[in-house]
Symmetry: none
């Protein structure tokens, strides 16, 4: 029943996505949420804390989706492919909110040692962990090359989807549809040598 607090997060997510964090004023968020200006600061100590809550609400769904994708896959390689497809679909379906994560979040946290940074790090580590497990599973069931360095590759895959997603959402480049090309690219890189 925390209607007020929830309304603030929803309103903030919309506005941050549309105009960017620093171009959105707290007064606008309050108006959009239908609460008094001061109410924002009753529920969240600072404007940045609202951003943090938006981040968490999106990332929780994101990570849950990744875990589900892995759980339903029949093999390690299938899990990786499912992760890639999930990522591309999730971004497509949550353009607005995901943009907040990509565009605004890191700018405000890169330098700080705030507890907020720790929240981001925890989420990112979680995502990398899901990928790592899929890779290990693939090495064991033989669908992924045995000589692959797992940790490094997990980071590479995360970097790949992240970098792709970012420029797509930010609209700096007119990207061709990359769905299957990405899956192929990665499958090629990961699968065991043909003659093995």
């Amino acid at each position: 029943m925390t209607t007020r607090k929830e309304a603030i997060v929803v309103a903030a997510a919309e506005l941050f996505a549309e105009k960017g964090f620093s171009e959105t004023t707290t007064a606008e968020v309050a108006e959009q949420a239908g609460v008094a200006h001061g109410t924002l600061f009753y529920h969240f100590k600072t404007k940045e804390n609202i951003l943090l809550e938006v981040f968490e609400s999106i990332m929780a769904r994101y990570q849950a989706g990744m875990e589900a994708a892995v759980a339903n896959a029949g093999s390690g390689m299938a899990a990786i492919e499912a992760l890639l497809r999930f990522q591309l679909a999730f971004v497509e379906e949550n353009r607005q909110e995901y943009l907040v994560v990509l565009r605004d979040f890191p700018s405000y946290l890169a330098n700080s040692d705030s507890p907020q940074k720790a929240v981001v790090q925890r989420r990112l580590a979680g995502v990398v962990g899901v990928i790592r497990q899929a890779l290990e599973r693939g090495r064991q069931d033989g669908t992924i090359r045995g000589d692959l360095p797992v940790e490094e590759t997990a980071h590479i895959l995360r970097g790949l989807v992240y970098g792709l997603t970012r420029h797509k959402l930010l609209g700096f480049l007119a990207l061709p549809p990359l769905g299957e090309a990405v899956v192929d690219f990665c499958r090629q890189a990961l699968q065991p040598a043909a003659g093995a």
Copy 2:
């Protein structure tokens, strides 16, 4: 002779890298540059224009480096490997300034239709173009798979190095050294099938 103007760009690059664009005030830039506050606005119409100049001064060096890497390579695949190694080295050697490109620039331009956005797009297109040419060369000299979609793959590679670089610089994850793993990963993805 344009000592003043140059000093401003240098000072801005340092401060933007250290504190972020929006956390840096024009007054600080002026002080660090050793010029009067008003002088900034004599040389640059707006604060964002200073950022643009910083961006350009870095990206010009970056693109030149990429072109040189490609030019000296003996084959298409070698060119791709050289590009990857150049990227990783460049980032390492220009952490501070490159951070500005990664962190601050996109945030301010994602939504706008300013002429500044065009500058960024031109640079990114140039980088993708260099990769594309290397891929095509590889397809012709046989060092890269012939069935590879060139345009898509060029974007994938750019996304990969970008995504990797970004999180490394922003410090959200403690990455293991990825140099050779990245090169291997890409070589595997690009090289012709073993039995072909």
Copy 3:
């Protein structure tokens, strides 16, 4: 039974003394008192009313102490000396709470015509009255100069101890111990001429 209300006054006295009235928030007082924020305003109409209660609880003790000092003295001059010594001791023993009286109270009431101002005036008049009576007693028993203007001198003495106390508590000056010097100074000023 009025535990809650008392706890509020005690908490307020501590915080006002430590941080000053306007630097203390009502939320802090509530927390320190262990009651809900709204409870303050159930017991006191405004924040200033809490201050008033703090003032009263200190001044009641102060005035009672002065009256006791006078009552136990053997002569008018002895009464004055007892008053001076009581003042210096009281301040020493109640530094924290007395600071509230000295520092915060007058600022908020100097211009107003609130009933609160009347409370302060009544207390001050009471204190001056005690001094005046001691002086009159001294004039009659011959321990104090007969040509002394009583009313004026009572105010002078009150001003003297007040001014001394204030700067001591506010810590603006490192005062030497003044106890006996003050008593001597005043005895000298008040006693009948040597040759009389």
Copy 4:
């Protein structure tokens, strides 16, 4: 010709005297001074710094007046009397501005270790110093008791005039005119024993 900065100090002195420091807004000061709101913060970093400047402008005149009073006196005792009369007259003629010193200043500085506190301490020490010199002069020329503890007495005298002044200005008590009574009181306390 720093007209703007001066105008701000003058306006602030008036408003602080009339309404009190914390009841005066910076916007009001700007309007009264006829400058833009932002101009206040160009010349003074904070609102408190404006208060500090007001304090200094008054205290400089005050201390100069005290030194002049002493310089023109024919003896130590005459110097003390001149100081007392100067104090009473100064307060009378500068009610408004002096009220700022008495009422607002200490409240904001009692607890802090700011450089502002040092400014106040320096001024107060200067005032005490003037009194001390007058006392020493009186001890040497025989117009003041030789057994008087100089340091202590200087503080007592300063406390006396301060305490008197404060309640007069704050209007808590309807004081009778005290001018000559104060001078008499102090002369009595300071002069050498009659039979000496």
